[in-house]
């Protein structure tokens, strides 16, 4: 296993702290423990002159800087670049920004195997596809673990509207002859829209041929806020994070 050695130390400037999702911090802590702590230590002070809990870093001031250092390393030092998916990088950054206050003992990581059963029990595949199974009317989740962070997935389950990518918005088109086409938007320009309809057919429509065209900002996915316990939610997130398409 490679070891994530973050070669940072105090200097640089102040950063206005953005909001970090607790789930991102928690998964970042797991990644840190697995990949970084060998060199940096569990408390972030394992490398001489470097204290990751200080909140400021020698080679980075912004989250983008931190992400760059994590993925490309620092030349001439022991800090090498790490091959992590973008959500994983964001999770490690979220943890680094919250090392001082995060209580790892208070967080119970989810179980992916149980999450898979919940995925099946809740019939998620009626809309979503994973690998060769499931429907295509909602976004394909086969690689969702490489696209979304834990915090984003958790929010998707609790408040789907807040996480729906604008390109995925449901559209309703009424042709001049009154035919109604409902679907999920795939692409759009000034004159045309491309979508996958609710019969899983790819359609390309000329807007000039439409009597009505509506872009909805409400996700058809229900909220699982009152359906899943916090433990079940963590399990389902763990399963979704494991979907990396490989």
């Amino acid at each position: 296993m490679v070891t994530l050695l973050l070669f940072f130390a105090a200097v640089a400037g102040t950063v206005q702290a953005p909001e970090y999702a607790p789930a991102d911090i928690a998964y970042g802590a797991q990644l840190y423990s697995a990949q970084c702590s060998t060199c940096h230590g569990p408390n972030g002070d394992g490398v001489g002159g470097v204290d990751l809990r200080s909140g400021s870093f020698r080679s980075a001031s912004t989250d983008q800087d931190l992400a760059r250092v994590i993925t490309t390393g620092v030349p001439g030092t022991g800090m090498v670049g790490f091959k992590l998916d973008p959500p994983e990088v964001a999770e490690v950054v979220a943890y680094l920004r919250n090392m001082n206050t995060f209580d790892a003992g208070a967080v119970k990581p989810g179980d992916g195997a149980r999450g898979r059963m919940l995925f099946e029990k809740n019939q998620c595949a009626r809309c979503h596809r994973v690998g060769a199974e499931g429907a295509r009317v909602a976004p394909d989740l086969s690689e969702i673990g490489t696209i979304r962070s834990a915090g984003s997935l958790q929010r998707s389950l609790l408040d789907p509207n807040s996480q729906m990518m604008p390109i995925n918005r449901p559209v309703r088109a009424v042709m001049r002859d009154g035919t109604v086409i409902n679907g999920r938007r795939l692409n759009e320009d000034t004159y045309t829209v491309q979508l996958i309809d609710d019969h899983e057919r790819l359609r390309s429509l000329n807007k000039a041929d439409l009597r009505e065209y509506t872009i909805l900002t409400t996700s058809p996915m229900p909220s699982y806020k009152d359906t899943l316990s916090s433990g079940e939610l963590a399990d389902l997130v763990a399963y979704l994070l494991s979907l990396k398409g490989r």
Partner: protein
């Protein structure tokens, strides 16, 4: 010559009947509007209005346009150049610093000149080049390693090559030079690397520098007081000599008024881009237009659009010089739709502010004072600022038609950014942005308009939309608006038949009625259009040229239709 250069003659004298002697004297440049069959300067003429007197293609027959020829570049990336056309020969640049001479009627190549570049270039936003200038039989090109090269238009052979600035410090040349009299005028890019920008003129025959104007004044110069010393504070970085890294890049071609003997240049953002606290003061002449004596480079006047900029609102738009009616009398005006979201009318002899008002949503300022200075209204931390980082418009060439009296601009509407400054210490050759910015989009992490674009419009109307706006200079009001789903980086061309040609990121090439904005014709070219269209004539036939993706596409009327 200080560098080894290479050149390649692909085919000389391939097409009988063409004379590869361009012979474009200064008089021809002065009177470019009188020979609309050619496109002799970056913006078509010294007034930079990207307007042509050609009228063979009309609103009635534009539907009969067809593709006449294509030329495809081999290097991927945004192709931002605007070609020149001289007596049947088209000269253009392609990435990264090639020059190509083509038969403007068929697209067949006469020669290609390849300028050798080091692989470790410092360019913030892509290996861009926006075009050439010509004088006599010589072409001039700025290079990404901050050189200026003169090339023989007949052979493609380099004639001289001078170093303009140090590319290791982040300087580059991406603009098309401007020839005025016997000099070649250029500006430098590198505003994201803490350069100290300038405009400089070079003798067209020898390459010897004849004058230089620093866009960031030094000690003892007027305007230096606008770079106040910052007060050291814990937790941030104070640069006591901020002016030395003050930015002020000049990366889009200026204009020239021969009667006033003034050349006008838009100046880019201050450095660091987003942490304005490190550089107290107005930070002249960043985000300004400067009017320079064409013979000496001395500053005649300036107007600063965005004092003490914290939003990266470069003022590198093309200065349009228009003679208009103002309050019932004639006015030598300068018309300017700025990246900061405002449309301005200035008196171009004096720089006097006459009018300014938003053409897109603006909340970084509330109004102008009586001197035309914006009253700024910085938004609270975490709140969005309109327009966003790429601006209400940017470097995309606008157009002014003397027939319609309208000013046309490509706009990004409903586009905002949440800005945040961070401390950054200048280091030569390192990015000097000093900011943590995020697009204002409804979904955290959702795509938002940036510099690059794929075939899927995945940021959608939620992040921004595009439009062509026709503005009445007398009132600043929209005469019409042509909306697009995706944003547009395309320039705009207007013609004497009241046609308007433009593109956009969707890859459509549109012909609009310049008086009403009605769509008259379109072609789907398959990739983003990020340059300004041109028009020209060969053997009595009018052509319209644009670039989509890696393809230069040239249209003309179907031969069978008169």
């Amino acid at each position: 010559m200080t560098r080894r250069t290479t050149w390649l003659v692909v085919a000389l004298s391939v097409v009988a009947g063409y004379r590869l002697q361009a012979d474009v004297g200064y008089e021809r440049l002065l009177n470019a509007a009188r020979e609309p069959r050619n496109w002799l300067l970056y913006s078509g003429g010294y007034s930079s209005n990207r307007y042509s007197a050609l009228s063979q293609v009309t609103p009635a027959n534009v539907k009969n346009l067809e593709l006449k020829w294509m030329y495809q570049a081999a290097v991927a990336g945004a192709w931002q150049t605007s070609p020149l056309v001289v007596d049947g020969i088209m000269y253009l640049t392609q990435r990264s610093n090639d020059v190509v001479a083509l038969d403007a009627k068929t697209g067949r190549a006469f020669w290609i000149y390849r300028y050798p570049l080091a692989p470790d270039l410092l360019v913030c936003c892509g290996a861009n080049n926006r075009g050439l200038a010509i004088l006599g039989n010589t072409l001039f090109m700025g290079t990404l390693d901050a050189h200026l090269v003169a090339i023989d238009a007949a052979s493609g052979h380099p004639l001289w090559n001078v170093k303009v600035a140090d590319s290791k410090a982040g300087y580059s040349l991406t603009l098309a030079p401007l020839v005025v009299k016997d000099t070649v005028i250029v500006g430098v890019g590198g505003g994201e690397y803490g350069i100290r920008g300038f405009v400089a003129a070079y003798d067209a025959r020898t390459g010897k520098e004849t004058w230089r104007f620093s866009t960031i004044p030094g000690p003892g110069e007027a305007g230096f007081e606008s770079w106040a010393p910052c007060q050291p504070a814990s937790g941030t970085y104070c640069d006591s000599e901020a002016w030395k890294h003050g930015g002020g890049s000049v990366w889009v071609t200026g204009s020239f008024d021969p009667d006033l003997n003034l050349t006008y240049w838009g100046v880019g953002n201050a450095g660091p881009d987003w942490n304005a606290d490190q550089r107290p003061g107005d930070n002249l002449y960043t985000d300004s237009v400067v009017a320079l004596d064409a013979d000496t480079g001395r500053l005649k006047w300036h107007y600063q659009f965005t004092p003490h900029d914290r939003y990266d609102y470069d003022s590198v738009q093309v200065p349009i010089l228009a003679d208009i009616t103002w309050n019932g009398g004639p006015l030598k005006a300068m018309l300017w739709a700025n990246r900061n979201g405002n449309f301005y009318v200035l008196e171009r002899a004096t720089g006097r502010f006459l009018a300014g008002q938003p053409f897109v949503k603006v909340n970084w300022m509330s109004k102008f004072d009586e001197h035309g200075r914006p009253i700024q209204t910085p938004q609270p931390p975490g709140m969005p600022t309109w327009p966003g980082n790429q601006g209400g418009t940017n470097w995309y060439s606008p157009s002014f038609s003397p027939r319609t009296g309208l000013f046309y601009v490509s706009a990004w509407e409903n586009y905002a950014t949440v800005f945040g400054g961070t401390a950054v210490q200048y280091q030569e050759g390192r990015n000097f942005g000093g900011g943590v910015n995020r697009p204002h989009v409804p979904v955290p992490g959702a795509p938002a308009p940036g510099l690059r674009r794929g075939p899927i419009n995945n940021w959608t109307e939620a992040a921004a939309t595009g439009a062509v706006l026709a503005l009445d200079p007398a009132t600043g009001q929209q005469k019409w608006r042509f909306p697009m789903t995706d944003v547009t980086d395309s320039g705009i061309l207007t013609t004497a038949s009241d046609l308007l040609f433009t593109g956009g990121r969707e890859g459509y090439f549109h012909a609009l009625d310049a008086r009403t904005g009605a769509l008259l014709w379109k072609a789907s070219l398959g990739s983003q259009i990020v340059s300004g269209p041109i028009t020209y004539e060969v053997d009595g036939k009018q052509y319209v040229a644009t670039i989509s993706g890696l393809s230069l596409c040239v249209f003309g009327l179907r031969d069978s239709i008169p």
